[in-house]
């Protein structure tokens, strides 16, 4: 009769309690530093934000009173990630279209899918080393060495696997009936893809691509010896072929400076970088959740 009731002292119940509290402790240890980290970045960085930050050039380290702003780095990050997107999105979407729409699961497509996964795991600094060897040291781009263009190319290598993967998976989710219907009324393959399958997979592809861009925007390692860094305003198209600053490299350089003013600038730059990356992430997550809901109906 007693055995029908919950008995605290039973060894299995004591063991259960023990492991439950262990997992709670694990979760606490895991989550607390993360909360601490985010709030610290937001508070410490947010307190450094001033209007001049967005308009001034950073001053060279040494002047402890006034570090200037981060305008060139901000614009540089925008330009470098744009270059990376211009390269990676067409190549990635095109490659994804081949994998999802044309390939029939043969050796070639299996090899490419495997290659995409391997490329996604290549350390980001190796992408920088590769572009350094291929472009910076050979001065192949009109004689320029370190340049924003080279930096953008290095980042595009990191974006490419994400774009291909999301296109491939997004297109695979499109129901085959749509394709049959389109082909059945006499549309050719490319019309079907461009007018039917791509548009209906657009949202999931766009979400993945935007997340990939956000990740690339925060990458530092591929830029430190391809785009290098610059203290000066970006004034024209020609600046693409010279050293270009970026928020990520600014944070790296200025965090290691012994001067307080530069360190503060690094915090301000991290605030802007983290805030924009997190808001892009949250926004696309909401969008994805919304899409899922409408699909279910």
């Amino acid at each position: 009769m007693n055995s029908l009731y919950y008995q605290k002292r039973l060894s299995r119940n004591i063991g259960d309690k023990f492991f439950t509290s262990l997992s709670v402790i694990c979760a606490l240890i895991a989550i607390l530093p993360l909360i601490f980290l985010v709030t610290y970045i937001l508070i410490k960085g947010g307190s450094q934000i001033t209007p001049e930050l967005f308009t001034l050039e950073p001053n060279p380290p040494g002047d402890d009173l006034d570090a200037g702003g981060i305008n060139p780095a901000l614009i540089g990050t925008l330009i470098i990630t744009t270059i990376a997107s211009i390269i990676a999105i067409p190549v990635g979407v095109g490659g994804g279209i081949y994998l999802a729409e044309y390939s029939k699961g043969g050796a070639f497509s299996r090899f490419i899918r495997f290659g995409v996964n391997v490329l996604a795991g290549v350390p980001s600094i190796i992408a920088g080393v590769f572009i350094y060897a291929l472009i910076v040291s050979t001065k192949i781009l009109f004689g320029s060495m370190y340049s924003g263009l080279a930096g953008g190319m290095a980042l595009s290598i990191l974006m490419l696997p994400t774009v291909i993967k999301t296109t491939d998976e997004g297109l695979k989710l499109v129901p085959n009936e749509l394709r049959y219907a389109s082909l059945g009324v006499g549309a050719s393959m490319y019309t079907t893809i461009l007018k039917v399958t791509l548009p209906s997979a657009f949202r999931s592809i766009a979400t993945g691509v935007v997340l990939g861009i956000a990740r690339a925007a925060g990458e530092t390692a591929p830029l430190i010896f391809t785009a290098l860094f610059s203290y000066y305003y970006i004034t024209g198209f020609g600046d693409l072929f010279y050293e270009m600053g970026s928020l990520a490299v600014l944070i790296y350089n200025f965090a290691l400076e012994p001067y307080d003013a530069q360190n503060k600038l690094a915090w301000a730059a991290s605030f802007i970088l983290v805030l924009s990356i997190l808001s892009v992430n949250i926004f696309s997550r909401i969008l994805a959740a919304f899409t899922e809901k409408t699909k279910r109906v």
Partner: protein, 315 residues
């Protein structure tokens, strides 16, 4: 009959449209092969650039730790050792924490809303750039943990791992910041694979009288093991290739030491530090080190993919 034939003729596509179709297909084929070209290009370029150093030092490069641009003597043992030690030790800390957290958010200890908030919060953190983690490590974590390191040295200094006086940046800090970086990866992958275990299995275990943790240990974790292992390997690849956060906090010293409380080096931090200013045979040696790093991460990655394929869930 005549009418039917003309209809049939008209069903042929126009030549231009046919050509566009073929061009479109082949363009996408070429674009998809870019992945293979880039991958092979990376391997070949890094290999050929390291050839000079490879032919001069051979495999001795991997086991000597002299790194002297003045005397032109190079060996990457310190960096390779640092890469392996930081990544493996950080994983050793991350795995129980990450899997424990994943169990916490897949079991019903707290309401579903709270679990989902924690889960998406952890996933968001994977998006924080590592350079920002490095900044945080320099200005917040290092001062915060300094007293703890001194304590560690005073009481456990007889263990070689803690034998040096802690002075600022060191390998242990790099390991800890890697833990912060890897936790979101391991947790979210472990959570996904735990969620994929069918409910039937859990109900069956409960039905024959297993307690909650008996079920977790004997049924759910084994069923999710392949996914978790793949996530762990993915995290290992990340840890070995991670550059910025580690470079900023590890201290960047090529002097070999068993102690975790002394400054260290990893391959990627060596590349980040020296690549910009290197010339001559130093460049080739750096490429050699980069090649070693690439092989390490390739092996880990390919093994992870193989594991997923081999042991993916069969329910």
């Amino acid at each position: 009959m005549e009418e039917k034939l003309t209809l049939f003729k008209n069903r042929k596509r126009f030549g231009i449209e046919k050509n566009i179709d073929i061009i479109f297909k082949n363009t996408s084929l070429v674009l998809s092969s870019f992945v293979a070209i880039i991958l092979l290009g990376i391997i070949l370029v890094v290999f050929f650039q390291s050839f000079e150093s490879f032919s001069r030092y051979g495999l001795k490069f991997l086991v000597t730790s002299e790194w002297n641009p003045v005397k032109d003597e190079y060996g990457a043992f310190t960096a390779i050792y640092g890469t392996l030690v930081t990544s493996f030790l950080s994983l050793l800390i991350t795995i129980p924490l990450g899997v424990g957290t994943a169990i916490f958010i897949t079991e019903d200890f707290v309401p579903k809303v709270a679990r989902e908030i924690i889960g998406s919060f952890v996933e968001l953190l994977a998006a924080i750039p590592s350079v920002v983690l490095g900044l945080w490590a320099i200005f917040v974590m290092e001062p915060f943990l300094r007293a703890f390191f001194v304590f560690l040295h005073n009481f456990f200094g007889w263990i070689p791992l803690f034998s040096t006086e802690p002075t600022g940046r060191n390998s242990l800090l790099a390991i800890l910041i890697l833990v912060v970086m890897l936790l979101p990866i391991v947790t979210s992958i472990a959570r996904d694979s735990l969620n994929q275990v069918p409910k039937k299995l859990r109900n069956a275990a409960y039905g024959i009288g297993a307690s909650r943790w008996k079920t977790i240990f004997s049924v759910i974790l084994p069923a999710a093991l392949s996914g978790i292992m793949a996530g762990v390997l993915l995290a290992l690849g990340r840890a070995m290739g991670e550059t910025m956060a580690v470079t900023m906090i590890i201290g960047n010293s090529n002097a070999f030491s068993w102690s975790l409380l002394s400054p260290g080096y990893t391959i990627s931090s060596m590349l980040a530090n020296q690549f910009g200013e290197a010339d001559g045979s130093q460049v080739s040696s750096l490429f050699y080190a980069a090649f070693v790093l690439m092989i390490l991460s390739l092996v880990v990655n390919i093994f992870a993919q193989w594991l997923v394929k081999k042991f993916s869930l069969k329910y």
